[in-house]
């Protein structure tokens, strides 16, 4: 067995999931959809993080009752050896989507604002070694890399928010509920795909994170902390731009430092900060690629994870690049998927957990 899992401590696990929550929470937001009818994105993020945590708690309970150490075991236990591989494949697809979305935005920013004269393919080439190395080397390396950059990355987000203080105007948050509770609830449900992958990843790597209880503890800290950072970012973004401008900006955080009354002093702050944010995107992509590969290998009884992790990492980078190319069929597929990904992500583990609970109860 070569699953490249090893063991990581709580700090590494929390750092990994925390950074992924922030990267997805900030860079996977579909601004057109989220800000179409008001500025309640901070509420949406808070509800999405809470919902995601509730859902993984249910999955954890299922795993605990079935005495499974990781999600692959739960799938095999609940769905049986034949159906577990397709179920894992569905989760894998959703994880690839979740890993690629922050990279799509970060790649767009790099190509549009930094490497202006170069084509996007050349810029995207630099992502491959980073994501591939992380996914190939496995959980320990991902965890340690996340822990190494954790403080700097989180600080970089706050530096951007502090720089932008003169541009904040609270009236831009009104009406406070956006377009009402129904719209907030719908967006919160769709926003699960921004937080759930980071948390479920810990259960996929459950054996390396010292079991279900430890995974749930780390997931709770990551959901609370990462969710809080995302809520603060969304709240302050909402105070910087009105919602009808936000819906036109694909990556508003990058434009934050450019919204100041005078930006000359911080002319290059956006570019410096971007590279820290890019690190968070790369760690997230590596983490999701490895988790997806581990789940699929475990559910389909593969003994070596490396071919799967390499394939998934390359797919993630390819999807990120395709997001930037003018491929109408691909964009149509993404548009079709984007409001359904949360269901793809949530249904297999939730169903497995429920089935496991029912089986256990039946056995007792």
């Amino acid at each position: 067995m070569n699953l490249r899992q090893g063991r990581i401590g709580n700090q590494e696990a929390v750092a990994m999931a925390f950074l992924s929550c922030i990267a997805c929470g900030v860079f996977s937001t579909n601004t057109k959809l989220t800000y179409a009818a008001g500025n309640g994105s901070y509420l949406v993020s808070a509800f999405s993080a809470t919902l995601s945590l509730l859902l993984v708690t249910v999955v954890a309970e299922g795993m605990r009752r079935a005495r499974c150490k990781n999600l692959a075991q739960l799938y095999r236990y609940a769905f049986g050896p034949v159906l577990s591989a397709p179920a894992a494949f569905i989760t894998l697809i959703a994880l690839i989507y979740a890993a690629a979305m922050p990279l799509v935005r970060l790649l767009m920013i790099m190509n549009h604002y930094i490497y202006i004269l170069d084509n996007v393919q050349n810029v995207a080439l630099y992502l491959i070694p980073c994501v591939l190395t992380l996914a190939w080397m496995g959980l320990e390396i991902i965890g340690r890399t996340a822990r190494l950059f954790f403080v700097v990355i989180v600080l970089s987000f706050f530096v951007a928010l502090i720089i932008a203080i003169p541009a904040y105007a609270p009236y831009r948050l009104y009406p406070l509920l956006g377009n009402g509770l129904a719209s907030t609830a719908r967006l919160s449900l769709m926003g699960i795909n921004r937080f759930f992958p980071a948390l479920i990843g810990l259960f996929i790597c459950g054996a390396g994170v010292h079991g279900v209880n430890s995974s749930l503890r780390c997931a709770s800290i990551a959901a609370f902390g990462g969710g809080l950072v995302v809520v603060v970012i969304q709240l302050l973004l909402g105070m910087t731009f009105p919602y009808y401008i936000l819906s036109d900006i694909p990556a508003p955080l990058y434009r934050l430092t450019m919204a100041l009354p005078s930006g000359s002093m911080f002319l290059r702050a956006d570019k410096v900060l971007l590279f820290f944010w890019l690190l968070s995107g790369l760690v997230t992509a590596g983490y999701f690629a490895y988790s997806g590969a581990l789940l699929f290998s475990g559910a389909s009884n593969m003994r070596d994870i490396r071919p799967a992790s390499a394939a998934v990492a390359l797919t993630v980078c390819s999807v990120a690049l395709m997001g930037q190319l003018n491929l109408s069929a691909f964009h149509a597929a993404v548009s079709f998927l984007q409001d359904k990904v949360w269901a793809l992500l949530v249904l297999p583990p939730l169903l497995a957990a429920v089935l496991a609970m029912l089986k256990k109860r039946g056995a007792a």
């Binding site: 050349n122 009236y171 434009r255 919204a259 000359s264």
Partner: protein
Amino acid sequence: MKRFFACLLALGLLLTCAGCLQTDSPEHFGYALAIGFDRGETMPYVVSLLLQKTKTDSESQNNSGFLLVKSECRSLLEAAELLSASLPLEINFARTALIVINLSLLTEAGMLEELLDVPVSRLRIRYNTMVLSSVTPAYDTLEGLSNELDPSIGRICANLESYRDRTGLLPLTNLTGLFEAMRGELYDAMIPLCGVTNEAPKALPTRDSVGTHEYAYIGGSLLVESSMKTSLAGAVLLRGGRMAGFLDGQNVQLAMMIMGDYRQGRRRIVTPSGMELTVFLRADKRPRTRFTLSPIPSAAVTIPLVAYVEAPGNPDSTEQETIRAIQTALKNDADNLLACCKRLGCDTLRFGTHAVKCFRSTEGWEAYRWKTVYPAMRAQFDFDVTLLHSLNESELE
């Protein structure tokens, strides 16, 4: 050995990933520091670009400064393409800090949106880019920015901000503020007015829209003479994206006091007895606004100010009388300003930003149509003035 070769292979692969390392040097780019828009003769617009000259080792020091180019075109995007081909430089808008728009382009509805909406996102112009309106052609205004002191656009913008903070005579608007005002129903923008010193006075009426003609200097009619020909004071009032009127520096100051953007400045006040006082006014705290929607929108605005009478040094009246005189003068001016804004249909004083707080959903707010209700609103201004006997000494001195 196997690992060594793997590392070597990885290194080789990494070196082939040199896609970004092309031979484009900074001199390849023409950085547009400022953009000017005028009405064209054969095409709809004339776009002027103030390009930064880049110094290279082989070139002399004289090569630093600005290069002003212009092109008749249908849009900014087209101008960027035309000028890129003819210079030849890759025109880049990442460092654009100033946009100057000729007043003639603000008289037609929808023209400002057409000029800025698409180009700002396509050309990635920064949202903090300052927007000015010009009485004289924007090309001349941009040309007038250069002098022998060779100021950078960044320094000019910083100086305008500092002038705004020190005097309150100038509103500053950037693209975020302009788009927010044009696309939404919240408020209307006020754009600073500039022009070439010798030409501007001929192009403007002697009074502003409020009717003030005392101490009214607007758009480049400042009584100054310098080698920098462009000067700036007062503001253009917009209704949506269209010009509705002018304000002189003193009325801009008052508008900023009401909006909470005012810090300090000097103001000439005529007391009920006809005496003229020059008063230095400093914002003590942010203004407090109580807003109610029904039965008709009403606002009560309290503006705390600290005042110091500069001239005449010892007015022949008691402290209370002086305070009352300042309060009355400010209140009358504020009432006149609001009446003017309501008459022009522009919510320059940003009461919409208070009205929106009364709504629970965006749908409800958008259905309310604030701009149609605004002319009927009432506002009561209360200037809470504290008189200082000295500006520079502490209480203990």
